[in-house]
Each structure stands twice: as structure tokens, then as C-alpha cells.
């Protein structure tokens, strides 16, 4: 009976372990599929602590099972067990062993805490005031959308974060309305974007791991920020250093002047856009307009609409028609007059053609 029970426990433990190994989640967003140095360190720490915890649980469970099986009261047994006061020896054992286990854990915890907080490379500037040898991105979190500024290149984008692989990418994090939190699970842990000051962190995207994830990672807002908190997703597009540089260059070409629309419908759309939408949405990459809405200069090449809807014309039209249907509480709804279906068609045509890299739309 006793051994059977123990065997059963062991089997279920193995079952759990296989579950852990088999189900590591999706490469694009699982913390268990680390895609770079930061996530890897954190994953190692998770594994180490899990192992310690499994040991602890096994010890507790074994003692526990023995206790409840062996000392079960038999029917009609009226004996009074010996009233034991305690045991100093045992107490010393179960005080020191946990302390040792904790020390084993505490060492990497403290080291990693300091390593992961090291963003000193951000402060090293060249004589133009640009960051030397490091990609720096200013992240501004807003009610349900993300803005990414590349201060050293003078460009803005939103919703899709574009990063080079195999190097440290540094972030300045800030929120403009309420607190949010910036999280790319596959690449590393999160950092809050506060309203009262800037936080700094770095992430690394390994090129091989990125390939496995089709160069696309999911980003999440991890701090409750209102009704559409759940939908405040963003995407991370990884590019090799060269591709990244050419992306930057093409972004910079539309930095000064918004692209002029081609085609009748799109021209019409641009007109409406300039009347109703330009107050919030910038369509040149050098600025963020008033910072009220996402920069749309490369909207045609985005992964998603509003961070989470599939990038289709139909969805776009529905979005423009009534954003509140998709993201309750978003700040765009109701801020522009009613649009007719024709106007929306025109706007959609215009927006879907806002591209900076030609036709390199990944899907």
C-alpha cells in the first residue's frame, strides 16, 4: 500500500514534468522559450528555483504521506500516544537546510538583479549627442497603444516595435496617461511604464531563436490600465542588423514629408484624413503629431490593426467606423465626425498604402 502510493506520487510527478517540457507554450510569447540573453538568464533562474522547490515539495510530501499512512488511527483504538514536546535535533535540521537552499538561490538572484539593471551603455554619447554603440528606443505607453521613438535616428513608429537581433536593445520607458507595463515574454521580463518618470532596461533578441519564431514576438501590456488592457498588445519585429539599418533608412525617407497618395481613391482618403485625423495621427516618421494617436506612416506594413486585429481591409474599415466596438474605452472613439461608408473606403485605401519599405509586408 505504502509503496504503491509513493509510486503513484512519483508517476504523477513525472507526468507533471513532461507536461512542463512538452508544453512550453508558443515560441512567440512564452517565457519558457527564451529568445535572448535576458530571457535566458531569467529562465535559468526559474529552472534553478523550480528544482529547489521540487526537492522541497518531494521531501514534504514523503514525510507527509508516511505520517498520514502509518499513524492512522485504527478502529476502536483508544490508546493515548506519547506526548512528545519536540526535538532540537530535528529543528536544527529543518532550519539549516532551508537556509542553505535559500543561499544557493540568493546568489544568482542578487547577481542577475544587478546585471539586468546595467543600462550604463545608454549614457555613453558621441559628440553629436547620439548614443554610442547602442540602439536606444523610447517607449511611450498610452491608453491602449504603444509609441516607439528611435531618438538617435529621429524616427517614430507605433504598435510594431522593430529591433535588430543579436545585440542589446535599450529602452526608456514612460507612460503618458496611466501606468502600463512593457512585456515581451519571450525576450525577457517586464518593466513598468510609470507616469512620473522614466525607467530603463534592455533586451536581447537572438537571431536563431527569432527565426524559430518567424521574427515576430508578441508584446503585452502587463499592468491593468482600463477596460482594454487585455487588448493593449504590440508586436516585435526582429531584423538582422543590416535589415534593421535599411529599415531605418527607409523610415527616414518619409521623415520630413508625408507620402503623397497615389490613385484617385487614396487621394480622396488623404484629403479626409488631413481634415479629420491628422490632429492625432502623424503620417511622417519624424514626429508624433500631438502624440494623441499612433503614428501611421508605415501603417500598411503593420502586423495588426490597433495592436491586435488582423491586418485586413475589412477590419480596418470596421475599426474606423466604430473603434469602441473593438477596444472599449479607447481615446479615438467619438473624436471625429460621422463618416460615410465611401469616406471610410477612401480612408482605408489611403491608409493601407502607407508603406515605407515597398511591399515587404510580412504575414
Amino acid at each position: 500500500m505504502k509503496t504503491r502510493l509513493r509510486k503513484w506520487r512519483l508517476i504523477s510527478l513525472f507526468a507533471i514534468m513532461t507536461l512542463i517540457l512538452a508544453g512550453c507554450g508558443e515560441a512567440k510569447l512564452s517565457a519558457l522559450k527564451p529568445a535572448g540573453e535576458v530571457a535566458q538568464k531569467q529562465f535559468d533562474l526559474m529552472v534553478l528555483s523550480t528544482l529547489i522547490m521540487v526537492v522541497v515539495i518531494i521531501v514534504v510530501v514523503i514525510l507527509f504521506v508516511i505520517a498520514i499512512v502509518r499513524f492512522r488511527r485504527k478502529d476502536g483504538d483508544d490508546s493515548i500516544p506519547k506526548q512528545v514536546e519536540g526535538s532540537h535535533k530535528l529543528e536544527v535540521i529543518w532550519t539549516t537546510i532551508p537556509i542553505l537552499l535559500l543561499i544557493i538561490m540568493a546568489i544568482p538572484v542578487v547577481t542577475y538583479t544587478f546585471e539586468l539593471a546595467d543600462t550604463s551603455a545608454m549614457e555613453v554619447k558621441d559628440k553629436d549627442g547620439k548614443t554610442k554603440d547602442a540602439v536606444v528606443i523610447n517607449v511611450r505607453a498610452n491608453l491602449y497603444w504603444w509609441e516607439f521613438e528611435y531618438p538617435d535616428y529621429g524616427i517614430f513608429t507605433s504598435q510594431d516595435l522593430v529591433v535588430p537581433t543579436d545585440e542589446k536593445v535599450y529602452f526608456n520607458l514612460k507612460a503618458s496617461d496611466v501606468k502600463h507595463s512593457f512585456w515581451v515574454p519571450a525576450a525577457g521580463g517586464k518593466m513598468d511604464t510609470n507616469v512620473d518618470g522614466v525607467n530603463q532596461m534592455y533586451l536581447v533578441f537572438d537571431s536563431k531563436k527569432s527565426n524559430e519564431a518567424q521574427n515576430l514576438f508578441y508584446g503585452k501590456c502587463a499592468e491593468l490600465c482600463g477596460p482594454s488592457h487585455a487588448l493593449m498588445d504590440f508586436k516585435v519585429v526582429t531584423k538582422s542588423k543590416d535589415d534593421f539599418n535599411s529599415w531605418v533608412t527607409s523610415m527616414q525617407t518619409v521623415a520630413k514629408e508625408p507620402k503623397v497618395a497615389e490613385g484617385e481613391l487614396a487621394k480622396q482618403g488623404q484629403e479626409i484624413f488631413n481634415k479629420s485625423c491628422i490632429g492625432c495621427h502623424a503620417v511622417s516618421t519624424s514626429g508624433n503629431g500631438a502624440g494623441m494617436g499612433p503614428n501611421l506612416s508605415n501603417f500598411g506594413e503593420r502586423e495588426r490593426i490597433a495592436g491586435f486585429l488582423d491586418h485586413t481591409e475589412e477590419n480596418l474599415k470596421k475599426w474606423i467606423k466604430n473603434p469602441d466596438d473593438y477596444k472599449p474605452g479607447n481615446t479615438m472613439a467619438g473624436k471625429y465626425g460621422k463618416l460615410t461608408d465611401e469616406q471610410i473606403d477612401a480612408l482605408a485605401e489611403y491608409l493601407l498604402n502607407l508603406k515605407v519599405e515597398g511591399s515587404k509586408h510580412i504575414d
Binding site: G23, S49, M105, L231, P328
Partner: protein, 624 residues
Amino acid sequence: MSTYAKKQGFGATLWDFMTTVDHKKIAILYLISGGLFFILGGLEAMFIRIQLAVPDNNFMSAGTFNEMITMHGTTMIFLAAMPILLGIMNAVMPLQIGARDVAFPFLNSLGFWLFFFGGVVLNLSWFMGGAPDAGWTSYASLSIHSQGHGVDFYVLGLQISGFGTLIAGINFLVTIINMRTPGMTYMRMPMFTWTTFVVSALILFAFPPLTVGLTLMLFDRMFGANFFDAAAGGNTIIWEHLFWIFGHPEVYILILPAFGIFSEILATFSRKRLFGYSSMVFATVLIGFLGFMVWAHHMFTVGLGPIANAIFAVATMAIAVPTGIKIFNWIFTMWGGSVRFTVPMLYAVSFIPSFTMGGVTGIMLAAAPADYQYHDSYFVVAHFHYVIVGGVVLGILAGITYYWPKIFGTMLNETLGKFTFWFFLIGFHLTFFIQHFLGLWGMPRRVFTYLPGQGWETSNLVSTAGAIFMAVGVIILLINIIITSVKNVRVGNDPWEDGRTLEWSIPSPPPFYNFKQLPLARGLDAYWIEKMEGKKEMTPAEPLGDIHMPNGSIIPICITIGLFVASFGALYNMDADKTWTVPVIIIGLLITFGSMLIRSIKDDHGFHIHKEDLMDDKDKEVKA
């Protein structure tokens, strides 16, 4: 039953409960209202799980969902778990130390009514324009930004009920320090009394920061102050600190009484004294102490810097040591004992591995760099439900079942109890185990829905199924309670037969003065000692004499109603179209302070039960 309160109409009973200052009746009030709030919070949990059962669900809107999680968390912690525990403390602790009541019976009643009306204020929000929706943590930027009056209800409701809890804490402390029966030294106090003591101290020091935090938020939202308005120089992180300086000790306020309950149950049903009693006391005090040094582990991702994160990470891990001492002492209490699996014991036994699993994930969370991944993901949800449901709720269920006969004089049905137990335990693991993985697979918490294709569908469905199991368990418990109350089979002093402490030496339920003569405690487990010497009753520590008792009073309710009224004035103060708010605040406060004045002006010396009446009582008992 007391000879004074028998055969009365419903109105009289109601009045009796509204004015009572008897700790046992106040305990029942706590248990009933806490129980109702638990069902409410549980229903909210069920709605949450229904909404999340499948992706892209639209069972509720996003706004409603946020209200639901906020109210679920707030209700469960402040209005269900804590009050139920306070109820058990009220019912049991004075009996365990051989006292006739708590130190301040009047304040005891006031504490209850403050808690109750605070809960009512909070829940009225559902009917008055929307519940709070900024999470139970109500982080400042979002809660200041939140439209409508939901967050105002949160602030005022918690403020009022918080005063009640603070009063209860002080009351228990004084009771334990000053009113122990002769012979009951500190190191002879039952473990549950010890945990009550430490918890009360935690309440005393943890609630003031919450009071301050809530006051600042009240001033910001209702009177135009700028504490949390970054544009005016404010700082939202102040709220986060104040909340967690309170919030972390709060979780130990919840778990320590459960530890106490389990200590009693494990010793009783192993027929063995608690293993390592003095190290258990030491561990309890140490947990309470360390509980104040670790709050920033909830803020690892805020950006406090590596030094602060490292310090708080290590300090947090240290709590594993005293908690581990307790776990092993419990196991070794059973070791060599004679273990009988009654329903309370089943809860106690299953608690050990369940809580250990929750505790060790707590240590994993304390690893700051790894917490950057776990934080605000379902991993955290899994952790805290493991410790709360696997620790606190199991403790509550165990405590209720164990002390039911002492409080109500009848035994809950054991078979139905076992059904509740198995449904609840299986449902609990089913619901929350899988959530660890959801978190690691990237699912943030507090999301009202999720898109398909992220690998979370099956697990969420499993989790919801587990929640239904738990609900079934709770419903069976309710049925059990009804059946038991209707049958009303009375039981004797020591219905579990193996009772060790003083509460089992007197009738169930005890007479309203508890002890005819104060008992003499001759050691730890005072009643057990007498039993082992073949006695049926405690040795008295005093001759039979008159007993002084306090009078009931309606004033606690009046004081509370004043605050209740005033809170509605404050609530709508910032609405430009409402001019009546300031007068209402003033009227409310006048009621409160007026009632307090009446209380202090009207001398109330209580009354005496005469020696002769006490003897009568005894005679009657013998006949019955």
C-alpha cells in the same frame, strides 16, 4: 443557551443581535456576514472564470470584467476571509484563555458594525453607478483616472471597514495581555490564541498605512488634492508603497489564523500535543516581524533599482525558514500520533502539501529577476490562490467545521462534509495548478479576454471546470448547514472527544458568561491535562461569586450609521451639480460624534449575575 434569551420573536432576536456586546454573538454576526460576502465573492469568481473559459468570450463587457475582478479581490480579502477569521477568533480566543468576554465588549460590537457597513458601502456601488474597476490594489494612476464613483466607493468602504478591523485588533491584544485566566502564561496559550495575538499586532501596525493611503486617495478624488497627480508634483509610487506596506502584512493577517486553526486541529485529531510548541510560537512571531520588511517584492518591476530589489528579494526569501519550521512541526505532530480523519482533519491534512506548493512559488516570485517574468501574469494568480485558497480558505472551512459544535451546539454532517472537502480540494487544484503555466506562457492577469491562437485555450477551460467543482463543494456545505440547523441535534462539551484546550471544557454553546468560575490552567493544553487525570471539568481558580457583565448597546450601530451617511456626502463632493454634499458630511459626522458623546456621558456600569442565579443554572443543566 443563556437563560435570559430564550423564546423570543424575530424582532426581539434581531434587536438582540443589533445591540449585543457578547463576543459569541458578535462572532456569529461576523460568520454570517463574512459567509454571505464569501458567496458573493465566489459568485464573482465564477463570473470571471465563465468569461475566461473560452477565447474572445463576450459573457461580460470589458468594463464589467474589471469591476468584477476588483470586487472579487476586495470582497474576498476584506469582507470574506478577514471577517470570517475575526469571527472565529471572537468565538474561540476568549474561551481558550478562560476569559468571560473580550476586553472591550462595546468596541467589539462597534468593530463589527464598522466592518459590516463598510462592506455595504462597497457593494452598494453595483447599484449606484458602477463598482470600482482599478483592481483590488487600486494603483493610483488608474484609480485617479477612473471615471464615475466606483473607486470612491472602494476608498470609503475600505476606510470604514478598516477602522472596524483596527478596533478588533486592539481589542484582541488587550484581551490576551490582560485577561488570561490564572495559570495561563504566555507559553501555555493555545496556538490559535498566539496567532490571534500576532495577527492583532500586525493589524495594529499594518492598517494605519492603508488608512493614510486611502485618505490621500480620498483627498485626491473627492477634495481636489494632488498627491498622485504627477502634473502637480504628485507621485503615484507613494500609493504603491503605502498599499503594500499594508498589503503584505495583510496576507499574513490572513494566513496566520489559519495556521493557528490547523495547529489546534492537527494536535486534537492526532491525540498528541503540538510538536515543537515553542518553536511554533517563535516562528509565528518571526513571520509577523519579517512580514513588515518585504513589501517591495510586489514592486520589483516598478523601477526601484537593483539595490532595493536585491535587498527585498533576499528578505522575502527569509520567510521560507519560519514557515518551513511550521510545516515540519505539523507533520511531526501527526508522526507517532493516532490520526483520526474527521472532516476538519481532512482539511488540515490536505492543507500541508497544498500550502507548501503555494509557498514555494512565493519563494520563486521573490527571485527578483525571475519575477520580472512572473509579475502580473497568471503565475502570480496561481501563487496567491494556492496560498489563499489552499491555506486560508481550507483553514476557514476547517475552522468552521471544527468549531461549529462549540458555536452552534450541533455537529455538521460528516458525510456531506467529506463531499464538500473532495469537491473543493480537487476543484481547487484543477483551477489553479494550470494557471502557473498560463502565466509562463505569457498570459497577463486582469485580462477580460484573450485571442485564440496563443496556446491558452485548453488550460483556461480546465481552470473554469475546476472552479465549478469548488462551487459544487460550497453548495453542498450550504445544504449541510441547513440540514444540520433544521435537525438541531444538541451536543455536549467535547463533541470531538479529543479536545485539549479550555473551550472544550464548557458547554456547547457556552453560557453567555462563559465560565462560571475562572478555570486554573495548569499547563499547555489545560483541559487535556485534567482529562488525563480523569477529571471531567477544570479546577476552578476562584470561588463561585457574582459575575459582572456589560450591557448591550445600540450606540455602535449609530456611530457607524453616521459614518455611512457622511461617506455619501464625501462620495459625491466633486460633482458640480450636487450642492448637498457638505451638509450631508456634516450631518453624518454629527451623528457619529454625537453618539460617541452620548456613550461617554452616559455612565454604563453593566450588571451583575448573582451567585444564586449561577447555582440555579447549574441545577437546571444537571436535570436536562
